[in-house]
Amino acid sequence: MNTDILNIKRKRRSQAITFGLFRVLSYMVILILLVILGFIIYNGAGSISWNFLTGYPEDGMTKGGIFPAIVGTICLIIGSMVFAFPIGIMSGIYINEYAGNNWIVKFIRIMTNNLGAIPSIVFGLFGMALFVNYLGFGDSILAGSLTLGLLVLPVVIRTTEEALKAIPDSFRTGSLALGASKLQTIRHVILPMAFPNIITGLILSVGRVSGETAPILFTAAAYFLPRLPHSIFDQVMALPYHLYVISTSGTNIEASKSIAYGTALVLIVIVLLINILANFLRKYFGNKVKMN
């Protein structure tokens, strides 16, 4: 009997130790995030100024600002969204509303997952082969946007699909029973209801696009181009590529360190803002839907 109690005590103790360890590891995730964010904010805050955000790079990128890179990144974001959003949303609608549950959907879903798992550098290679060389767009906003668009397409599709799936079937049957056609049901009942979730997912995918470097290395990004793009066939500087260049292969890495910290901070702030916005919308729409 006595040994049994001892046994139980020992088990309890080992459980407490394990759970304690798991808790420590979990809080370490927060610590890691705080360290990375804190480090970049602490070191980068000093280099942020109006001049930095709106000026052009000077002196072999050791001085001046990052305005062309900010503009370039915005161009690439808009370009890729124009391409990926309509196609992705339509594809999501087809998969969830039309295709039913057969081998076609299974196949499409596997292909979508596969596309999502392809490394970004492979998208870069593909974009270079197809858009830059074969279609002759050259290194341009167009080629880069299309490449980035392909990269986020699976994210958009999956987001749309999940959002549509969350809507109960009773709404569909109800609308159909009132005499609406399938397309009318989707357009006037399903899409408005799924809209909040779709938007949240889309905003998160903007975050993904803004930070990707590998796909634009050979399709859009310019090493140094202190002017704004004139057309979609122009090369552009981009924030993530700029950070890569000045922290590894710039003309004077030490001298451009403060610029590098500043660029990293701007990137982090973009990602932070996008996440906060997405969370805010989720909460906002969440409350609204409940009130209905």
Binding site: K11, R12, S14, Q15, T18, F19, F22, R23, L25, S26, M28, V29, L33, I36, F39, I87, M90, S91, Y98, I108, I110, M111, N113, N114, L115, A117, I118, P119, I121, V122, G124, L125, F126, M128, A129, N133, L150, L153, I157, S181, K182, L183, G207, R208, G211, E212, T213, A214, L217, P240, L243, Y244, S247, T248, A260, A264, L267, V271, I274, N275
Partner: protein, 395 residues
């Protein structure tokens, strides 16, 4: 009329449903189209030839032998199957050391080259093709195509070496696998522990608090991770282990582990959460402790989901480019430990494609690397599909 437009719109929707499949097909098509020329190409630079004395019995040399010869590691023709004769290497520029410039105009230059090669028995010369006359007296070596075994088993990656480049991807492949292995060794126990904590132990408020944090961790761009690794982790590793350089496989593994954590945590947590309540309650009712229940019931039940999480983490680690490129040091040598600079496949593509002329052997070899990377991740994501598909059947 209305029906007609609806039909059209539905047709468009149907088309867009197939768009991902089409893109994958296009990716396969273009990657292989650009890369497939590799094995029909010589590793000797385009427009150049290797020539030997007409009396030399050697007909052909492998790229490795050519490199060894010009590095003067092989100094006798006997070693490559020729006569017992010392090898004398001759590069095109050397002709200008033998004769004053004014004596080397036009055809005379070509004549002099031809004479030089026929004069020396042990000579091997690396010449531009355009200086060869029809009356050229030297014997041209048959150029060897890059072979499959050289590509996959070669231990040297010198894509821009002159006269003969070497395209052995073994060091890159092993570098990729080593870094990925290190990543998983760190991220797997870490990620699973966090997933178990969030799914089973922590109360819902804490779980809610963690969700945006993990999302944010997943949202930080890889180049920012790379930058952080470069300025913080690399110097740290250099100091702790007393290494000459801190840019090592370990630095890559640590950064990649942080990047893979969100994926592993989310997928594993979802899997763990699917364990039916009845099973847990039955286990607790039989007198098992909470930890015993987790270890003996919950984890075995959700093992396929956890496996899927691991595979996704590996996939992320294999394909990640920028962060690895910035912190691993990129030395294309056979890796022996995590404390040395290594070079991965994606980093090689990112670092070299910009300098490889379109259509050159180097360019094609990089696209071939892209094909390999594509196939690796395809296998991984298909096996994830297989693992999670199996799970559904079991239910």
């Amino acid at each position: 009329m209305k029906r007609f437009t609806e039909k059209i719109i539905e047709g468009i929707l149907k088309l867009s449903g197939g768009v991902t499949s089409i893109i994958i097909l296009l990716i396969i098509l273009f990657l292989f189209k650009e890369g497939s020329g590799l094995f029909n190409n010589s590793s000797i630079e385009k427009g150049y030839v290797l020539s030997v004395n007409p009396a030399n019995p050697v007909k052909t040399l492998s790229p490795k032998q050519v490199k060894e010869i010009f590095d003067e590691n092989i100094t006798n023709w006997k070693e490559v199957g020729g006569n017992d004769e010392e090898i004398k290497t001759f590069r095109f520029e050397e002709i200008f050391d033998l004769y004053p410039d004014e004596e080397l105009d036009g055809e005379i230059l070509s004549q002099r080259l031809s004479d030089e090669i026929s004069k020396e028995n042990g000579i091997i010369a690396f010449l531009p093709e355009r200086y060869l006359l029809t009356s050229f007296k030297g014997k041209l070596l048959e150029s060897n195509n890059v072979s499959l075994s050289e590509f996959f088993l070669g231990k040297e990656w010198f894509p821009t070496a002159v006269p003969a480049a070497e395209f052995g991807i073994l060091p890159l492949l092993l570098g990729t696998l080593l870094v990925s292995f290190g990543t998983i060794a760190i991220a797997l126990p870490f990620g699973i522990a966090v997933a178990i904590y969030l799914a089973e132990i922590a109360d819902p408020r804490i779980r809610k608090f963690f969700k945006p944090i993990i999302e944010l961790l997943a949202g930080i761009p890889s180049v920012v991770y790379g930058f952080f690794g470069l300025v913080v982790i690399v110097p740290l590793i250099q100091k702790i282990f007393g290494l000459p350089v801190g840019e090592t496989g370990l630095a890559g593994s640590i950064i990649l582990a942080i990047m893979a954590l969100p994926t592993i945590i989310t997928v594993a947590e979802d899997a763990i959460r699917t364990t039916p309540r009845v099973m847990k309650e039955a286990s607790l009712g039989l007198g098992a402790t909470h930890w015993q229940t987790i270890w003996r019931v919950v984890v075995p039940y959700s093992i396929s989901g956890i496996m899927a999480a691991v595979m996704l983490g590996i996939g992320r680690a294999i394909g990640e480019t920028m962060a690895v490129l910035m912190v691993t040091g990129n030395a294309a040598v056979m890796p022996t430990s995590l404390l040395e600079p290594v070079r991965t496949i994606p980093a090689t593509i990112a670092a070299e494609l910009g300098e490889a002329p379109v259509g050159s052997t180097h360019y094609q070899s990089l696209f071939m690397l892209g094909c390999i990377l594509f196939l690796l991740t395809l296998i991984i994501s298909l096996s994830v599909e297989f693992i999670s598909g199996k799970k559904k059947n079991n239910n």
